[in-house]
Every structure is written in structure tokens, then in C-alpha cells.
Amino acid sequence: MAESIREYFGHITDVVKTFWEGLSVTLSYMVRRPITVQYPDRTAKRVADTLPSRYRGLLEVDMNVCTGCMACERACPISVIKITTDKDPANPKQRVIAQFDIDESKCMFCGLCVEPCPTGAIQHTREFESTMKAIDSLVFRWVPDPEKPAPFYRPVKGQDAPRAPVGEILRKRMAERSWIAPPGIFGGEPEAREDRRASPDGTHRGGSEGPAQGPSSSSKA
């Protein structure tokens, strides 16, 4: 009986003691600084600029230093990189990269493609804001026009590849394709792409309907 009476009042004192502590903790947070970052508009700097240099944001390729070795394409476990090399018809000795496409909507930002790159041409930037109106807008053509392919870069011994600062090229690209602009990457209006999805065999519209254009050539309607 005495035991259970002690237990009964023990519960009450426990309640008082632990509530006292809990309430004092929560009250003390009234005068501590909230941890919240007021993204995106009330930060001192752009958030992308505050990220660490190892941050794995959107991929970027500097075609000026790409050797066309295709190591990144092989390293990618989900095949979001597509590279086509070709001979320059005008100059058969010169190998060129006719296509260097990255489907960044499918990319999982693992960084495996960056590791084997001999010149650091392919790099993760610190840019992460990639909202686009259409998912195909996230396919980046690093050689925008196959008619003007990029020649292979030959690394010079004992000299670093002259790579552009990471992020610069991508930022320029992103500014061009504001998310509200029609994607135009497949050379058509956004609605025209619906049939691509609807086609029963999953094949795409033929390239005959319109010339492939660089994303920039789409109208800024």
C-alpha cells in the first residue's frame, strides 16, 4: 500500500519535474537563433555560391578541353551521357565530337563520370536550381550543332588543360533557357512533343519534321 502510494505521488512529482525541464528548454529556444535559411530570396549570397567545391550539382562540359575519350560515357551506370565521335569530313585526320549530350533530368549526380576524365572537361557545378517547364529542357547538348563539331583536345604534357572556371558555361546555358521558355530542343513546340509520349512503340518523332536546333535558337516567346 505504502509502495503504491509512493508510486502514485512519484508519478505526480515526475510530471512536475520533467515538464519543468521540457518547458524551460522550449522557452529557451524563443531567444535562440532559428536555424532556418530563408531560401531563396533572403540570403546574403546566392545559395549555389555558398556550397562546398565538391558539391555535385548539374554537370557541365567544357568542350574546349574534351579529349573525346568517352570514359565518362562508359562510367555512367544509367547511360545519361551520349557521345558520338566522327572524322572531320573536311580534314580526315582530325577526329571531332559530333554529339555530347547529357540527359540531366535522369542524371543521379553520383560523380562517377567526373572521376575518369583526364582533363577535367566534365565537372559537377554547384548549380542545382534546374526547374524547367518541360523535362526535355534538361537535356544539355554540349555540342549544340552537329554541323559544327568540337575537335578532340590533345593534352599537353606537364601543362594543365585550360578549362574554363567551373560553372561559368553552365550558368550561361541556364540563363538562356529560362524555365518558362519552350524547350525547342527537338525543334518543335512543347505540344508537338506529346505525340512522342503517346506513340505506342515509344519511338520518337523523326528528325525530318524540323531541324535540330540548339536550345538557344528556340524563340523567346
Binding site: D14, L51, R54, Y55, C76, C110, H124
Partner: protein, 385 residues
């Protein structure tokens, strides 16, 4: 077939029914199922007769993918097995393949693995105990836990470039060395953490309502826990002193001095929900100790062993075991000599924990079911893989 009949007959395996009983679907979308899981629950008022978990909503076929991509290319997929503690999923896979290849990572890599892993464990346990408090009805501890976790995510982001999907481990080492000045930042955070944990205890751990809600609820005794193959904090909460880091040491763990906290029935019975909660809180402190020791003893040297670019292990099989935040994570890899795994099996702590819920659900109350799910710390993607 009407859906109710299907639930009754098929999932609950019920042939007779009484009028008072109803069948409730806790899930697939429910605030407390920690992901997309459905608990088909047969209740009589507030008393649950039986609750059968239905899983698979997040099944992504990660084991099949393991047979499709080359060995190094699977590493990013392991991140997706357990998004709250991806470091261990990485590490387990790396350990398994290293055992298959007979490669030993250099000591510095092992230490870096331990540091990254333990930080990840702290981060994961904060989510675990925080959501547990949230499920019991206290919203504030979760955000306080998230505050601490943000700091860890910042540190890990600086280390490996991502906050959740780390992809930090490589077969035979790690991807990056520690950044300049990173150790100091970690130590500063750990100082904060060690003082913070006491505040956490004052805020929620010993709160009378919290203790009342968890003590003597969902008791898993020692034998039951072992029988159901529970792992990690769930097993230790039942008083079984079993920790892969200590008992089947891998990596740098033999060099560290740390305790393995187990449930003691401090406020109730050994193996109740509160014990599992408190084991996790104590493990945060132990992990902090390990990180401090690892940073102090960090050897110089390479971070990557010599591994061929094209991995073609000999025919054979290997098991990689690591102590993940959710218990023993076991990778079973069968090689047929090609550059892709012939069979890759991931056995996770959450999957084993889900199996016991039906056993525990007889005669408990609705609120207890939530407490039990929370205390077992199941993460739906890890259950389904």
C-alpha cells in the same frame, strides 16, 4: 472482388468476423508509416486484434539492378537503398566486393570510412529519435533533431558533395580525402553535440508522458528478437549485446574504444519501445566518441587501394557485413567471373524489423502500433529495396 473482402480473406487470413471489428488501412499514405507502407489493421475499437504490414510500394528492384550494372557502377544505387544512412549502404557494398576481390583498403581510407559512417549514424539516429517523438505527438524534438542533423549534412556535403546520396565509398577505398580544416569543424560540431544531447534528454527522453507512452509497450524479449532476426539498435534494445563493429570487426573499428549500449529496462521492461529509443540516443554519444578517436589517430597515406579499372572477380561468393544505423546490413555477392555481379543480395535491418510487427500487434492499442513502428525505425525504401 470488393476490396474489403480481399483484405479480410487474403491479407488478414480471416475466415470469421465479428460485428464490432473493423479493418483499417494504416497507409500507404499515413503520417506515421515512415514511407509508403500499409498496415492492414483489424481493430476492435482502440484495441488492435492484428496488424499485417503490406510492403512493396517502394520496390525498385535494386537487387536486379545489381546484376545489370558493373561492380563500380552499382555504388550510387546503394545510396538509394537507405537514403537516411547511405554511408553504410555504400560501405557494405564496398566491403563485400573487397572481400570478393581480396583487396584491403589502406588504413587512412578505413579511418575516413569510420568517420563518415559514424557521422552518418548520428544523423540517422537524430531522424529516428526525432520522428519517434513526432509520432508520439511531440513535434518540437524532431525539428531540434533536424537542426543537429543539418550541421552533419553540411559537413558530409563538404566531404563528399552530397547531403543524402553520398556515393562516397569506392571499392578499395573512398572517393575523397578529408577537406582542409574539416577535422576542426567536425570537432567543433561534436563539442556542440555532446552538450546538446543532455538538453535532448531534458526535452523529451525522460518526459513523463513520453516515458508512459513507450515504457512496457511493444516488448520484444531477447529470445523473440533473436528469433525474428532483428538487427542493430532493435536487437540491442532487447538486451542483446551484438554489434558488428565490435563482434565481427571490419574497417578501422578494432582500433576504437567504444561501448555498445543495450536496453536495460530502465523505465519499464527490457526490450520495450523506450529501450530502443534510448539505445539510439546513447549510440549518438558513442558515435561521437568514435569520430573523435578516429580524427585523433587518423593515419597518413593513400585513400584508395590499387584496383583494376575493369573489375572481374574470380568465380565465388562473398558476404559483406556492416553495422548500419538500422542494424546489420548484409550484402551477399555471387560472381561468375564477369564484370557484373551474378547475384547481389541486400539484407537490411528494416526488412527484418517489419517482420515482427504482426507478432507484436495482438491486443495493443492503436497508438501503441504507431509507437512500435516508430521504435523499430523502419525506412520504407530499405524494406522494399
Amino acid at each position: 472482388m470488393p476490396i474489403d473482402m480481399e483484405l479480410d480473406r487474403h491479407i488478414l487470413r480471416r475466415t470469421t468476423t465479428t460485428e464490432e471489428e473493423i479493418v483499417v488501412n494504416f497507409g500507404p499514405q499515413h503520417p506515421s508509416t515512415h514511407g509508403v507502407i500499409n498496415f492492414v489493421t483489424q481493430t476492435n475499437g482502440e484495441i488492435i486484434r492484428r496488424s499485417v504490414p503490406e510492403i512493396g510500394y517502394l520496390h525498385r528492384g535494386l537487387e536486379k539492378i545489381g546484376e545489370m550494372v558493373p561492380y563500380p557502377g552499382y555504388m550510387p544505387f546503394t545510396d538509394r537503398i537507405d537514403y537516411l544512412a547511405a554511408m553504410f549502404a555504400n560501405e557494405g557494398y564496398a566491403v563485400a566486393i573487397e572481400r570478393l576481390l581480396g583487396v584491403e583498403p589502406p588504413p587512412r581510407a578505413k579511418y575516413i570510412r569510420a568517420i563518415a559512417g559514424e557521422l552518418c549514424r548520428i544523423s540517422n539516429h537524430f531522424i529516428s529519435v526525432g520522428t519517434m517523438a513526432q509520432d508520439i505527438g511531440a513535434a518540437t524534438p524532431l525539428t531540434h533533431a533536424l537542426r543537429e542533423r543539418e550541421s552533419i549534412n553540411d559537413l558530409l556535403e563538404e566531404l563528399c558533395g552530397a547531403r543524402l546520396t553520398f556515393n562516397f565509398h569506392r571499392i578499395g577505398g573512398v572517393a575523397f580525402d578529408l577537406p582542409e580544416g574539416w577535422g576542426t569543424k567536425v570537432l567543433r560540431f561534436l563539442d556542440h553535440l555532446d552538450s546538446y544531447i543532455q538538453e535532448w534528454d531534458r526535452l523529451i527522453t525522460f518526459n513523463k508522458i513520453f516515458v508512459k507512452r513507450l515504457a512496457n509497450v511493444g516488448i520484444i524479449n531477447r529470445a523473440l528478437a533473436i528469433d525474428y532476426g532483428l538487427a542493430g539498435p532493435n536487437l540491442r534494445g532487447s538486451g542483446v549485446r551484438w554489434d558488428i563493429r565490435r563482434d565481427m570487426p571490419y574497417g578501422a573499428y578494432p582500433d576504437f574504444d567504444f561501448n555498445v549500449p543495450v536496453g536495460t529496462g530502465r523505465v519499464g521492461t527490457v526490450g520495450d519501445c523506450w529501450d530502443r529509443f534510448f539505445v539510439r540516443v546513447q549510440e549518438i554519444v558513442e558515435s561521437s566518441k568514435i569520430v573523435r578517436q578516429a580524427l585523433a589517430k587518423l593515419p597518413e597515406g593513400d585513400i584508395q587501394a590499387k584496383v583494376a579499372r575493369k573489375l572481374k572477380p574470380e568465380v565465388g561468393e562473398a558476404v559483406g557485413r556492416v553495422e548500419s544505423a538500422r542494424g546489420e546490413m548484409l550484402y551477399y555477392v555471387v560472381s561468375d567471373g564477369s564484370e557484373k555481379a551474378y547475384r547481389l543480395r541486400v539484407r537490411t535491418g528494416s526488412f527484418m524489423a517489419m517482420g515482427i510487427i504482426e507478432e507484436l500487434s495482438h491486443g495493443i492499442m492503436v497508438a501503441d502500433l504507431i509507437a512500435i513502428i516508430a521504435s523499430l525505425d523502419v525506412v520504407a525504401p530499405e524494406v522494399d529495396r
